[in-house]
Amino acid sequence: MGLFKPLLLAAAGLATAVTGALAQGIDDPARAPFYESLAGRRVAYVPVAMGFDLTEGWAAGLRSALEPLGVEFEIRDPNWSTDAGAQAITSLIDEHPDVIVVHNPDVQSYARLLRRAEQAGIYVVQVNMRSSYSTDVFVGADYVGMGEAIGNRMAEQCSPANGGSGKIAITQGVLTAAASVYQMQGIQNVLDAHPEIQLVSNQAADWDSTRARAIAATVIQQHPDLCGIVGFWDVMDIGTAAAIRESGQDVFLLTQGGGSRMACDNIENGSFSEVVVYHVPTQARDMAVMIEHLLQNGQAPGTTRSTLFTPLQFLNRDTMTAASCWDMPN
């Protein structure tokens, strides 16, 4: 008996202690440092221009991921002017935000500025179109690989062995944009290995749908047995699709983009045969994750170089689901 009572008391005491601790909870030791490392930080975003699906999608994704953590997110919109973009980056270097997210109009223009920004102690994240200067992070499509995948897809679709005529055309955007130069390299790699595929036209439409329409109309008319057209941007290839529809020919149109609702709508109504998608919300997520990583660890900008290639999806009527495309947040 003498022994039982203290044991009981001890057990009761232990139980109280445990339940007490549970009721109070245990603080996550990583929590405070996480929020502290992010609160009040500034992220500046310099796209080529706001106002289209890719750049709006990245902005919305970054904002929704970072702002709840207390990160200040601001946009500098150079509206298609490389000069204005360079000025924005220059003034940002003086203002010294913690991170600059930049979308390069071409491989050269911002290269030196991005190096200066890193030297000034600012992390630089590049998205989708890469500069010749590699910075802390690049998030975007592997355009050479994408070009190879597209080349293979066209070879498969249009090779005479599979009943195609072997004739394809390419409508590029701006010749010096990273999306164009790297991708052409990839396509060329495949075409070199496929002599049966003939590239009958390779033109730049300056990302403009009207010009893309005129080019496609002439090429189709000149080569009535044209098997397929590769377009470098879905927004521009609305024009290519219109030309194909008007010609009444059966031309396979393989285009590409960020996978917004418009892409799925145009696959659905038959304007696009297939769209290669680099999913914009995923890219925004990748960028946000890398920004959180850099800000938490506090290493000196420019000490590491990470490349995150976005997985590509080939969307067509068979592979498309209701969730394949994303809607522009309003």
């Binding site: 221009a49 106002g51 289209f52 709006e56 509206n79 298609w80 010749l175 009958v200 036209s201 390779n202 033109q203 730049a204 439409a205 300056d206 990302w207 403009d208 749908s209 009207t210 010009r211 893309a212 329409r213 005129a214 080019i215 109309a217 002439t218 090429v219 008319q221 000149q222 927004v235 609305i238 024009g239 699709a241 219109a242 529809r245 008007e246 418009m262 304007s271 522009m328």
Partner: protein, 324 residues
Amino acid sequence: MPLGANLTQEKIVFALAVLLALGFALALPGFLTTQNVLNLLRSVSILGILGVAMGLVVIGRGIDLSLVALMAVSVAWMLTLVSGGMPLPLALAVALGFSLLVGALNGWLVAYAEIPAIFATLAMGTLIYGFGRYFLFSMDVAYIPEGARPILILGQSDLFGVPLPIFLFAGTCLIGHLFLRYAIPGRYLRAVGDNLPAARITGIPVRPVIVLQYVLSSGIGFLAGLITAASVDSMNTRLALSTYVYDVILVVVLGGIGLSGGKGGIRNVVVGTLLIGVLLNGMTIMDIQYTLQNVIKGGLLLAAIVIDTILNPRDEQTAQQGDI
């Protein structure tokens, strides 16, 4: 009389177009087919319609650099309104009204505030684009919503096997020609362009005629915008920032409408448009890169102007009056 004194720039450019077309016909199989010729006309018909708008202003000794920006913004706004649930006819009326109003404002700045046309319309183009992007819509490209599908007829249908935009171009040219030739405001417009002080002394209401020029050009521009949107299922407002308006001026000047005003007619626009059409089509068939195409286009314009200057030297009057 020196050799070729009656060779106007219009004739030179027309001859050049025919020569080029002959050259392409011989060298490029498939150039001289009905389908390609239709294609060629179809691809420059919007440029031609804008050329008529610009031509009217230039004949009146002005210039409208806001033409393309206004076209892009008003049509994109129209599409945005329809997306927001406004019925198509109402949206069309609102956007056309907006377009004409801005045209009138341009005219007022030039005629009453007496700001040189080149500055007034340059500033207006930038202002309108910014205003549109900030207040009227947020996206760069406006797609044709379900409710606006009826306008697709303008860009994507055929009449007797000929694409409708070609008829619309022809119709605009015809009306423009009749207006300049027979309508009283049309003749006033030419008189004002030729010699403004003289026109004023004769009692022509000079300032209202100048306002009219810009209202007309914005109205025709709106039509061209509708056809553009209908052709490619969307309106890209970035056109406002592009060099497209200079292509329009190229067509006008190449055709032989002098920038000093009062000279030329719609026929010049047609000739200029044809030459550009033949050139663009041939170069696309030959798979010449877009950047090189620009070099060739610019070189051709310079050549046409040089030939014109040699064949038609400036006289006392034009030297005094000067160009814009």
